[in-house]
Symmetry: D3
Subunit: 318 residues, 6 copies
């Protein structure tokens, strides 16, 4: 089976893919004819595709996010690769294919990531901080295991949010050992909750974001997570103006560092400073790692990456 | 009695003033001698003052924010007027002076402003929005009547916050009549709550801000008010993600318009746009009106005003 | 007759429309064939259209801004609706259609707007200010009644400029009642003239801007209006450096507030501050109102709007 | 006689100086005593000075911008040199000193500079452009010969404006010879008028700016000069919208290049681009030359210079 | 023979052109057919072209940067002119055409430019500066004669770099005569070397840049040229920290003036200030001159030019 | 002995201190009298001090950076603590005090830091990278052990540069273990050399920077270190354009991330991204740690810190 990342102009193939986007459109000709304007993906990447010879019966068979078997050929169209589908059908049980194999996911299993997150939360020594964190994790429920961390920016895949969180926890623990004056409980709580409201800001399925929610657009994950901490404090009977609650909200609110990047206040505790730079370090390196990982063998430069000051990244090889 | 605003170099005076700031310091000479480094104010303005011949008994008599009777002379020191105090004593009951007469205050009585605010809140037709507003107003309690709206920026005096709110309500009502498509309930609720958490952000007495609180510095009045709405919704049993709650929080969160001005999200409803510009219009005009009002007769230009792009304002006279 | 705003993919229609843009082009095929690349509009919106089967005789019949009768079908082309014209002919007198019915216009009749503007000008108490305003209004002549206020930004339709001016006058009168220290004559004069040179900056017909004029590009409406005041002062025998002339020019020159927004000086009188924020309030709310008004039933978000920090606007409904 | 630039801590001197600033103040002691707070200058620089033992008779003898004979001593006060005046008297005719010898001035005589300017204006081939320039030069009158080009920024001395203009004309002529496609008449007219309204923006005497005028603050020299061209066109019967008038106004309006630097429009003709960079080149180099010229022998770095990105300049010597 | 700049829709032509870009692509149809997607240019401009009826034999005949004879027709495609090639063949010796006639080049012969550059270098009086300059010029070798100064920004043609350098030398000499305090040797050396590493930053042929080199992207011509001066100093035995070496590196490093424009340090010598503004003056005027030169007869406005604040330039004609 | 950090207004003390700054000045009185304007420091902090009763003999005894014994009293002067010295003498051998005990230094011994740095350099597997690093470390010599990393910003004390480097190496090693795709050799080399030229940019003694050098001001440590790599490559016979040399220079040149922060190129390799954020993380946290460490017991907020967005830092305690 041909991986999407390995397709090149002219290659013919048969294989299973995920129907990431699906729309029935009509040609401009007279009479107008139906065709499928679709996006196929697997764990290695995605390509847009057209299926021209649609029969009326086929129109109602497909829907986005389903698995399909496709026979097609790859063509160049306006400088980009595009698939011309010759045959397409839904995958059935006997095909023995599973959606999980066709989506991009973090390199560590979701269950392991969630386990690490919950263990870390349980190890927060301060009972009130631990209570606040547990409340918010519980509120998120199952989304913790599979949500991406962003629509396109970074960690935009299955379990991306949990993976980003776990990696940051590792760095945070290292920095706390290096600098014992830091409040490790607070930094851990901040890392665990800094992006937690992305589960509400984004509408996602299988690690793929389809849109921003109303709360996501009108409130944003930063202010939203701050209200969750208030809610947790109320439910747990912790005064909303206690230094612990305030310090934790401060970490969340300031973690984008500057107003123009979305933070209504700027970091004013050592833990807030640590959180911001650990977040940047992990997110930026992941963007570079993912872009280099997707680079075809033999190429030296990735495409331009918005989150990296719109720069292309060079693969260091020597 | 000489108003502070009318004092000029060389004038001698006797009168009652508010001891806005008070500190005992020591001269550099040998032996060092105690002196009072103080700020005197009345409703017309304020001046720093020195009292050099402090007796040991006097040192413990005074405290900030008390009324005092002063005999002194005005001098020029480093280009600025300064009072040399010759005699000073605490005001006593028989003097018949009241603190309220010595502080700068909004031109409308506090009780009237609070009445207008509460009446407006009670006229919000939507029961849930009305409940959210009432909850927050009740939470603020007495501070609503006397808090200033800022430390130095604008409406920085007794009842400044209430005055700013009432004026904005007037403009808001006019705009809603002009443009009926606007949701008047929502805009009113947004005006009533947009600066409500300044009562927690600032520590103030008699309309004078002494400092920012911990919550003020680490969370800020914008994100803080947003958590109050969440709290209100929880207490009232309104779902935190209902469009009403979200739209009201959006008004609060976006009312500074841009990230660099402190808003984590930008206005995305017509009411949020209205709120921001009504707020700016009222605050900026008040800065100009106050600065021109404090301008000595015959002068054409105010000092530079930070909140007005650091420009001086010219008195238009013809 | 189908309104353009109500057209959807696949719908067939017959009706009258305004030929907003018209060009004869040639296909790429061999031999190349003529076709019409046009834009059709009515008061509800506009769509691009193609007419493929052009006969030689038809090529010279049409011109931009004429009314036509069209029989066609709506198609999707590159994600956007486009009209495929089957038949097209010029409207004739017997059709009983009038251009005025096919263009977007302010919701108040042009004559009423002009009347309000002229009455307000005549009520300016100060004879010299009144003279300066009258001179500039007279200079503009008929354009006052129908010019738009911008190419795309805001009030970009028939009588848009007059409508914007009248609405601002209403707000200005309200603010002057609220704050009597403001010079109402000066503020009115400023509102009347602040955008007056848009009639020279833009080349417009029927409320639709086709291009910027040479003066518009090399001088701009702000500096241009300032020279008109000088011209008026010279003609009326008012010294160009009299405080009235200077204050009025200042209002015009500073009304965009910041240098990066096109104002060579920043507001330095209370009236200039009022003018800027009244202008912003009215223009921004109009953008939101127009965008929401054009939103199809059932949709919640407008497209992104450049003049509103490039944000989409959410329709507040509850 | 000791030049001010050569004074160092501890040096005693007798000499004639210009009384650049003069104010009678009072000491803080009891009883307060009068003293003179003054600034003395000569062509080499300036220093602040105090005269403590003022007799009542002396108080009314002096005024700013008069020549005085001073006997004093130089002291260090708060890291800066300051003169302690022991004796001071007005200069009298018999002293044989002339104000012109005590002020900083351009290195070329005012009359020569004015002659060059007028000759250049007369050589503009295009009669209309020449007329516009002549009108504005005539309007300025005598100020052309002695006005500075700025308060502190650059060319802030006697004939500074004329000197800056003449130097720019030289560079402009060179560039026009190098690039014949440029319209030399237009560029010359632009150079002659680009800063001409500084004569109205600033209030200056002997090359020293005391303040900005009302027009200077509310309109600014850029928009002001643009209105002068309109005035000239009206008087000369040239249509205000003729390309020549518009192009000349464009040069003036755009010569600061960016909105944040004060230009309401950006350069859009080759001549406007040339004008901006010739202006920058001459102004910036003059700042560097003046700062290096004022640098004491043996020092390598000037103070920080606001107009040069707030950088100090290093004297290149090898 | 039809110049590319003179082609208009519908015109048929036969002539010689340079094959600036060449790629074999395939149509979307079934079966897919080969076609040439090419760019043809001559000294007057360039146009994209398609050749549809490619025979298998033709596919291997062509390569970028070769001369070809073309018979074709000009068509409009998506608002832009495009050539439909009917016949194409390689130019042969007998055709008597030379590549040099088909590329855009500086208006002065390369040999003359190089001669001026080398003569100027040899006239630098200071032996060490002269040595540093000579070393760098020698390092560049032949590229000095033909390299462009940029990919698209300015002087983007054959000998563009040398032409830019020579013009700047002329202005520099003029300014040094006008201001004798400037170190003419240093300024000349700075002009000669400021863009010298563009020969390594860019990969160019016949004045056309194909891409940025690895050094160009990771180091940039500014820091790169600075290391060349270090290399030269080491080879010539001049201490790397001698004021001459440092001052010359400073000119190179600071010539973009601001950090956001690529300079790690800002100008801090008079010569560095001169260099920056001379560079800007020459580059900006050249952009305007080239854009106006390419403007078809009768048009008044060039396209928008990125390097000129993204403004279009108006042709001043009167 | 009283630590400077523990001094408060009114406390009298005797002890040894380092004479960090020393100047003889004169009072303004008549006759002027000599006094010492000095700064005393120990490892805990510094205070300015005055010694008024200077005898002629004493004037020549002292010099900056010597150890002195002082008897004095602490006073408040203009809101700040200041020492009034009653007696002062040079420390002598018998006093048994060592300069090293009076200066602020990294918490790890210089020898240990240097050892770690050299061991890390020797463990770079790639021989060429190792050679480049070794060359630069050798060039710096002894300064490596004691130089600060900045004048005031961060790590501004004895061994500050080495301490910063070692801490970054620790983080770098952790990140390379976390993300094996990173080139650990290259990142280590980048960390070792990124600030290496601060030893030339700054003039420092005992960890205290007195000024910036000529190279520091005109070239800066970023471009300077890049030339050192070129020099190393030349000496070691490694081509200056080899990918290793280029990649290492890229790390140095881009480590400030943005042009406005001093980097002429932006990070374009994963290792360059890692370097920038590791550098920020370590520097910012050190600023916070040092400021909190210097905060008197019982205080919650540090002064504003320029390098931390000019924010004060709150001590998290719960």
């Amino acid at each position: 089976m041909t991986l999407i990342r390995e397709m090149s102009s002219g290659s013919e193939f048969v294989g299973f893919y995920l129907l990431r986007e699906f729309e029935v459109k009509q040609t401009n000709g007279t009479p107008a004819k139906d065709y499928f304007d679709i996006v196929l993906c697997d764990a290695s990447g995605q390509l847009s595709a057209k299926y021209w010879d649609v029969s009326p019966a086929e129109k109602s068979l497909f829907a986005p996010m389903g698995l399909v078997k496709v026979q097609g050929v790859v063509q160049l169209y306006r400088e980009k690769l595009q698939i011309k589908v010759n045959r397409i059908r839904l995958a059935v049980e006997q095909d023995g294919v599973a959606i999980a194999d066709f989506i991009k996911a973090a390199p560590i299993a979701a269950a392991d990531l969630v386990h690490t997150i919950q263990r870390t939360a349980s190890e927060i020594a301060d009972a009130e901080l631990r209570g606040l964190v547990d409340y918010c994790l519980a509120k998120v429920g199952d989304k913790l295991s599979h949500y991406p961390a962003a629509k396109t920016h970074h960690h935009n895949y299955y379990s991306g949010l949990a993976y980003h969180t776990v990696r940051m926890l590792e760095i945070g623990d290292f920095i706390c050992r290096q600098r014992p004056f830091l409040n490790a409980d607070l930094l851990r709580a901040g890392i665990l909750l800094h992006d937690i409201a992305k589960t509400e800001e984004l509408t996602a399925s299988l690690g793929i974001v389809s849109e921003y929610s109303l709360q996501g657009r009108l409130i944003g994950h930063i202010a939203l997570a701050s209200t969750w901490v208030t809610e947790a404090a109320l439910k747990l009977g912790i005064p909303a103006d206690s230094p612990k609650v305030v310090a934790l909200q401060h970490l969340i609110l300031s973690h984008h560092n500057l107003g123009e990047w979305g933070s209504p206040v700027q970091p004013q505790t050592a833990e807030a400073i640590a959180l911001h730079y650990i977040d940047s370090l992990d997110a930026k390196l992941q963007m570079a790692e993912d872009a280099l990982g997707a680079l075809p063998e033999g190429e030296a430069w990735t495409p331009m990456i918005r989150g990296l000051e719109n720069k292309a990244i060079y693969r260091t090889v020597f």
